[in-house]
Symmetry: C2
Subunit: 111 residues, 2 copies
DNA sequence: CCTAGCTATTCGGTGTTGCTAAGTACGAGT
DNA sequence: ACTCGTACTTAGCAACACCGAATAGCTAGG
């Protein structure tokens, strides 16, 4: 897509990744691939890795190094309790924003 | 709200303001007040003004200086054709993102 | 009179985030 | 050896929202 989606991803990509991890653990390369398949065609490789480092440092995920037959060892991330809590907070915030936007789009008038 | 909404607003606040302007022209102080009434309680004053300067420089809005009885002259912004086009593009991008997020939230599985 | 308070805009500096681009590392097939 | 696909890392950049302070005009209270 374009610049617009890039800016919108700020703040939401983190939640997206956490949501992906909430269904099952995954590693960076895999997450990037999945995102690309889901229409986020130009997600940068490095973006995802940087994000994973961030959420790890915040203690939202647990990490385990798992050897791979096809390359260097994978760092498999799994959501922990703190991460699950944070994800809920993310969804609440998202709902609020999405609600406002929807109203804005339909009503046109708003206030 | 908190840090989460701040990050999410990156990229969407611009669209929100354009959408507000699409219903009728407005000036900075007024827009800020409206946003605050709509739940965006901690939108910073300066943020809105900076955004307005940006969209003006991109040629998405027309500006008219209008004297006020209660203070310094107002800069009234109105959406022009280019702005309306951009707003549509914004909505398309938003729809895409919102769709993905909704799927993620429900399905849990996704791919 | 002048100080406080509301209206209204501007500006400089900060932190977070995603992107670009390059590099490192490992294994398999040619 | 060489390339290709897998897998992760790092340094520097641009955009955006925030904070705090400054500027400016007008009105009302002490």
């Amino acid at each position: 897509m374009g610049k617009l989606v890039t800016e919108m991803l700020k703040g939401t990509l983190e939640g997206i990744v956490l949501a992906i991890l909430s269904s099952r653990p995954a590693y960076g390369y895999e997450i990037t691939a999945r995102l690309r398949n889901q229409g986020f065609s130009d997600i940068a490789e490095g973006t995802v890795y940087a994000l994973l480092v961030r959420i790890e440092q915040r203690g939202l995920v647990d990490v385990e190094k798992v050897p791979s037959e096809k390359g260097p060892p994978r760092k498999v991330y799994s959501l922990n309790d703190q991460g699950r809590e944070y994800l809920e907070e993310f969804w609440r915030t998202w709902s609020f924003l999405a609600g406002r936007l929807e109203q804005l789009r339909k009503g046109g008038e708003w206030t």
